[in-house]
């Protein structure tokens, strides 16, 4: 099993999720985050005090999927989240040791 972690533009969330659902991937956990990569930030000024804000709002999706579906999921996210501009985001892949469904003790891929 693998965890696919995608950090995307917040306004792309709907689109990505639609695409994933179409691909049959339902289980997902979403977090509001702030991120910095290549995208430039902006300046904020409060009564003359300037701050360079280079942490921009992003949305993080985490999906644990069976190995077999890994590439397909990555592909799907990439297609849906891409605008071609800096700030589109990243996908990271991690190996998952185990998965358990709390409700009924299902373990491993059965728990996904």
């Amino acid at each position: 099993m693998f965890k696919i972690e995608a950090i995307i533009q917040p306004f792309k969330l709907e689109e990505v999720r639609e695409a994933l659902k179409a691909a049959g991937i339902d289980g997902v956990t979403v977090t509001e985050v702030r991120g910095h990569g290549r995208q430039k930030g902006h300046k904020e000024i409060y009564r003359g005090r300037e701050y360079n804000v280079d942490l921009l709002p992003k949305t993080k999706l985490e999906m644990v999927v069976a190995e077999a579906r890994k590439e397909e999921v990555i592909e799907t996210i990439m297609m849906a989240a891409r605008t071609g501009k800096i700030g589109d985001g990243k996908i990271f892949v991690y190996h998952v040791g185990d998965a358990i469904r709390i409700r009924n003790n299902d373990r491993g891929e059965a728990a996904l």
Partner: protein, 461 residues
């Protein structure tokens, strides 16, 4: 605010003014009469100063919160600023010449510059408009109306227009639409003003036509001309904080007492009547919108309840001081249903992006309120309009004067015409001066960061 109340108030002062004629010789009586006049003025001025404050409160924080709660988080400050900047800019322009162009006696369509820079606007009452309160109070009260009207329009093009463009547009709009219409309806000699020598009698107590029809139809046109928010309607765009909108709606409700009951221009029984009619309309609007929602989708929502109340308030504005409280409730009921239908069904079908429903609520509400005033206006409530024989003239259909509905309709059409033409010109001219829309990048970033360089809610602790 409608000239009607002037006549009403005049009754009060007549009581006093008539007296000196009889007993000019007795100095004691003269002093006493002056004292009575001062006392009357104190009571009326007390109410009118509060009404000024209440109407200002409708714009900030009222409308500012109502609107900014409905937008996405990244636009919260930018949306508030659209209301707030009107409080600053329109105020100054009103003093420079706005007031004069509306209430200076010019021709039938626009005033003149006699009161420019508040020249001649002082402690003494203006007998034509409000004989028991200082002219300054009347001027200030009218100012608060001029502030909120363009602020209402901004709801239609929320989340996508540059700050400077919004200001330029609003200023142009004020002079192209608000000023002439307000003069025609309320100004001395105004074309539609039945109380001060107008041609076509249109009853507009507190601005159904002047404020709501003009802003509402202008809103529709701006929504169409400026175009949809990028991502609309596919993207999820839900109110980022109905809590803010709720607070704003309550402030609007409270402030509307100043708007409608204050339009009696004194703390008279007419003010009380308008107050109660207003309150009933708000309540009935909230109920009927909730009922409509419940029928359509099974659940009455908080957004629905506050939208219904605002719809009721906007709709009763035109008739507040002409109709009975019970008629107020009926008007509110109708408003809730009709505006619900417009906002929920028609808008989503036609597909324009009137983002915060400025048209659906104010335009439609103002329009039907204008007509319903023709139905429900009654001399039992407002006897300011006199027949040749000195008796109170019949007002609306319920008084046996069905023709008034047509008058009201004409008034509405004139309001709509000015709104559409004026808005078209104002927006085109604005576009020549400065770009109107935010670019895609800015729209994605949000108004707060892109236009104002700040955030509404800080990220870190």
């Amino acid at each position: 605010m409608s000239p009607t109340k002037r006549a009403y108030l005049r009754v009060c002062t007549l009581l006093l003014c008539a007296l000196p004629v009889l007993a000019a010789e007795d100095p004691e009586l003269i002093a006493l009469k002056a004292a009575v006049k001062a006392a009357q003025s104190a009571g009326d001025n007390a109410w009118m100063l509060v009404s000024c404050a209440f109407v200002l409160m409708m714009t900030g924080p009222g409308l500012a919160l109502f609107y900014s709660g409905l937008v996405r988080r990244k636009n919260v400050l930018g949306t508030m600023m659209q209301s707030f900047v009107m409080m600053a800019v329109i105020t100054l322009l009103w003093g420079v010449c706005g007031y004069s162009l509306v209430f200076g006696e010019g021709n039938a369509f626009i005033g003149d510059f006699r009161y420019a820079f508040l020249n001649g606007v002082g402690a003494a009452p203006n007998a034509d408009y409000a004989p028991t309160i200082p002219h300054l109070t009347f001027m200030a009260y009218q100012m608060m109306f001029a502030i909120i009207t363009p602020a209402l329009i901004a709801g239609a093009f929320a989340e996508r227009v540059r700050f400077h463009a919004m200001v330029v547009f609003s200023v142009l709009w004020l002079f192209l639409v608000y000023v002439p219409i307000a003069h025609m309806v309320w100004g001395k000699g105004g074309y539609l003003n039945p109380f001060l020598g107008g041609r076509i009698p249109v009853f507009d107590f507190a601005g159904g036509t002047v404020v709501h029809i003009t802003s509402g139809f202008s809103a529709l046109l701006t929504a169409i001309m400026i175009g949809k928010r990028s991502g609309y309607p596919q993207e999820r765009m839900v109110p980022h904080s109905l809590v803010l909108s709720f607070i704003g709606a309550c402030m609007l409700w409270i402030g509307w007492f100043g708007f409608n009951a204050g339009s009696a221009l004194g703390a008279s029984a007419l003010a009380s009547s308008a107050f109660v009619a207003t309150h009933f309309a708000a309540a009935a609007g909230a109920v009927s919108w909730m009922v409509a929602e419940r029928i359509k989708s099974g659940k009455a929502s908080a957004l629905g309840a506050i939208s219904g109340a605002v719809a009721g308030l906007a709709t009763v504005t035109q008739g507040a001081g002409f109709v009975t409280p019970v008629s107020g409730a009926i008007i509110g009921f109708i408003a809730g249903f009709v505006c619900f239908y417009m906002v929920v069904l028609v808008k989503n079908k036609l597909g324009y992006d009137d983002s915060l429903d400025a048209f659906g609520v104010h335009g439609i509400g103002g329009f039907i309120g204008c007509l319903l005033t023709g139905v429900f206006a009654t001399r039992a409530v407002n006897d300011a309009l006199k027949l040749a024989n000195g008796q109170a003239a019949p007002l609306g259909l319920v008084d046996g004067n069905p023709g008034q509905i047509l008058n009201q309709f004409i008034g509405a059409l004139i309001g709509i015409a000015f709104a559409l033409v004026g808005t078209w010109i104002a927006l085109k001219v604005t576009g020549l001066i400065t770009p109107v829309r935010m670019d895609k990048q800015q729209e994605a970033e949000g108004m707060d960061v892109a236009l104002h360089g700040e955030e509404g809610y800080a990220f870190e602790d």
